[in-house]
């Protein structure tokens, strides 16, 4: 495997006025791996994503994407070019589908740049030329492929906003995949899902990792999801990186336990939580 990581975040710092949301965080994410980013509320996880996808300009730091099609400095790439040229895709904690468009159209919009080029900036589209029709057909095929993967083929013509919550989550991931990304950033994809949906999601992510061979960055609150499917975990707390390593290493790290549970407060944990933690600890040991 290539030794250069797909994404190299170096000394990322993001300040909002006097508030330091991210303080000198460095980590890397590799191709064909799921990199989990975890941490308590307000640790700066989403801010990292916002820096990666051009919502914020980092105060300090270098975000290098070493994609097969070239190297991009994401902090210097603006707006739509992050998706168009660097090919980074992302999903949101609060789902941002185009609620008024059909499920299928949501997936076709994601192929905008490819279609724009093929249709000669829509001129060929207006004239209904064969070239444009072929490109449209291809994009519909890709969309159908992903609909099939997420089990929404029968609902292709639904308005996206009317889908059940779990379907919307999966559709958002499929839409991100339709942009043909090299790096997929998922912001709490399991939030609000029930246990079965969450398990299906894990399966989908593992499949994407195995088949597409792209890098996946995963923000997650739900420890079970992260621990189960991540190859590598970065732990943030108050904007700092406190741990970085394989899931089993991170789990044992005293700094992580402290951040999640607070110091010297083990006795005061509610019994269910303590039990749950103990179980997870055992599962990790196996």
């Amino acid at each position: 495997m290539n030794d250069v990581p797909l994404l190299n975040v170096e000394h990322l710092t993001m300040r909002f006025g006097g508030l330091v949301a991210i303080d000198d965080v460095s980590f890397s994410a590799r191709n064909g791996q799921i990199t989990g980013i975890i941490g308590p509320n307000g640790a700066g996880k989403t801010t990292v994503f916002n820096c990666l996808t051009g919502f914020y300009k980092p105060s300090v730091g270098r975000l290098a994407l070493n994609a097969p099609h070239g190297t991009f400095l994401l902090e210097q790439t603006d707006g739509f070019r992050i998706a168009q040229q660097a090919r980074v895709a992302r999903t949101f904690q609060n789902i941002r589908l185009f609620a008024g468009m059909s499920v299928l159209e949501n997936l076709i919009v994601a192929q905008h740049n490819k279609l724009m080029k093929e249709s000669g900036f829509t001129i060929a589209g207006l004239l209904w030329l064969p070239r444009h029709r072929a490109a449209e057909r291809q994009s519909v095929e890709l969309a159908r492929y992903w609909l099939d993967r997420i089990g929404l083929t029968s609902r292709a013509d639904w308005q996206a906003g009317n889908l059940p919550y779990g379907d919307q989550r999966r559709l958002e991931i499929a839409r991100a995949m339709c942009t043909d990304p090299v790096l997929l950033c998922l912001d709490e994809p399991a939030a609000g899902l029930n246990a079965r949906e969450s398990a299906e999601l894990n399966e989908l992510l593992l499949e994407i990792k195995a088949q597409q061979g792209i890098g996946i960055l995963l923000i997650e609150h739900d420890m079970s999801v992260v621990m189960e499917i991540s190859d590598h975990i970065v732990v943030l707390d108050y904007g700092r990186k406190i741990s970085d390593g394989r899931p089993d290493q991170v789990r044992q790290d005293p700094a992580v336990i402290r951040a999640y549970l607070g110091e010297e407060e083990d006795e005061e944990l509610p019994p269910e939580v303590a039990e749950d933690l103990a179980q997870r600890g055992e599962a990790g040991a196996i």
Binding site: R96, F98, A99, H112, M116, G125, L126, T179
Partner: protein, 304 residues
């Protein structure tokens, strides 16, 4: 009955023109959520470009009417679209991240600027144009009253219907139209999917201005006289049409335009010509009271 039919024809042709202008308002509102008050003046610019192009062609001795019309159409659309693009670039884009009120004020400024510059360059007096498409077909002749549809009215309706068809296909079927609809719903998300937002907005202005240019050409031909103030009333009427139909809705803009045209025509026919504007705006007030989102507009429901 004959009189009714005649006013129906007149109202429809007037309404078609309002509808074409209204699309520009509704599209821009849909995509960046602002009322482009300079749009009426863009329409006036379109009318002036058409007039000038006709006069130049006349000087060059082009007398074959269909050819002259095509050439004028192309020239007027190209030049007016450039105006539309420039106005967005100069007056609205720099204000995109400021308060909602800023581009609105900038739009009013742009409107005054366009009006005054045309007044300065072309003079304040009305500019006449000889009738290019004369003649009419008599549909019904009862002896006392003849219902006529002029060739010009036929042209207006045909052009409007075909433009609307192309336009609807473009919005619903093409990549660009899809991107526009996506931007309407969530600009940031569209940009994360690789849609160039600035370019999509520019193209929206260009399309709006092109349709306004066609409307300008047809008004020039229909009325045979234009002045620098033309865009003000027509702009307000078209804006009313857009709100009436439901601002942000494209079929709504067309429907609103036709309704405003019909209201004016029938009010003038059966009540008084002086108060036709009062009638049009009165209907607007009623619609806003009883159906604030317009006839075809989706009510904005905030999901909790």
């Amino acid at each position: 009955m004959e009189y009714f039919l005649q006013q129906l024809i007149n109202g429809l042709s007037l309404g078609a023109i309002y509808g074409l202008i209204a699309i520009g308002y509704t599209m821009v509102y849909g995509i960046i959520g602002m009322i482009n008050f300079a749009h009426g003046d863009i329409f006036m610019i379109g009318a002036f470009h058409s007039l000038i192009a006709f006069l130049v062609l006349g000087l060059l001795g082009v007398s074959f009417v269909p050819l002259a019309l095509m050439v004028v159409l192309v020239i007027a659309v190209l030049l007016t679209a450039t105006y539309g693009w420039t106005v967005e670039r100069v007056a609205y884009r720099p204000l995109r991240r400021s308060t909602r009120l800023a581009p609105l004020i900038s739009a009013i400024g742009m409107s005054i600027f366009l009006q005054n510059s045309v007044q300065l360059l072309q003079g304040a007096r009305g500019k006449p144009l000889v009738s290019v498409i004369p003649g009419a077909i008599t549909l019904v002749d009862s002896g006392t009253f003849a219902v006529q549809i002029s060739y010009m009215q036929i042209v207006i309706m045909l052009v409007t219907v075909s433009l609307m068809t192309v336009f609807t296909l473009m919005i619903t079927r093409t990549t660009l139209g899809r991107a526009q609809r996506a931007c309407e719903q969530d600009q940031r998300m569209a940009s994360l999917l690789g849609v160039n937002i600035d370019r999509t907005i520019s193209i929206t202005f260009v399309i709006g201005a092109s349709l306004a240019a066609v409307a300008g050409l047809m008004v020039t031909l229909y009325y045979g006289i234009i002045d620098f103030y033309l865009g003000f009333v027509a702009g307000i009427k078209a804006f009313t049409a857009a709100v009436l139909g439901g601002i942000g809705s494209l079929p709504g803009a067309m429907l609103g335009g036709i309704l405003i045209g019909l209201i004016e025509a029938f009010w003038s026919a059966y009540f008084s010509v002086e108060y036709k504007d009062v009638a049009a705006f009165g209907v607007l007030v009623l619609v806003l009271i009883f159906r604030p989102s317009g006839l075809l507009g989706r009510p904005e429901v905030e999901k909790v």
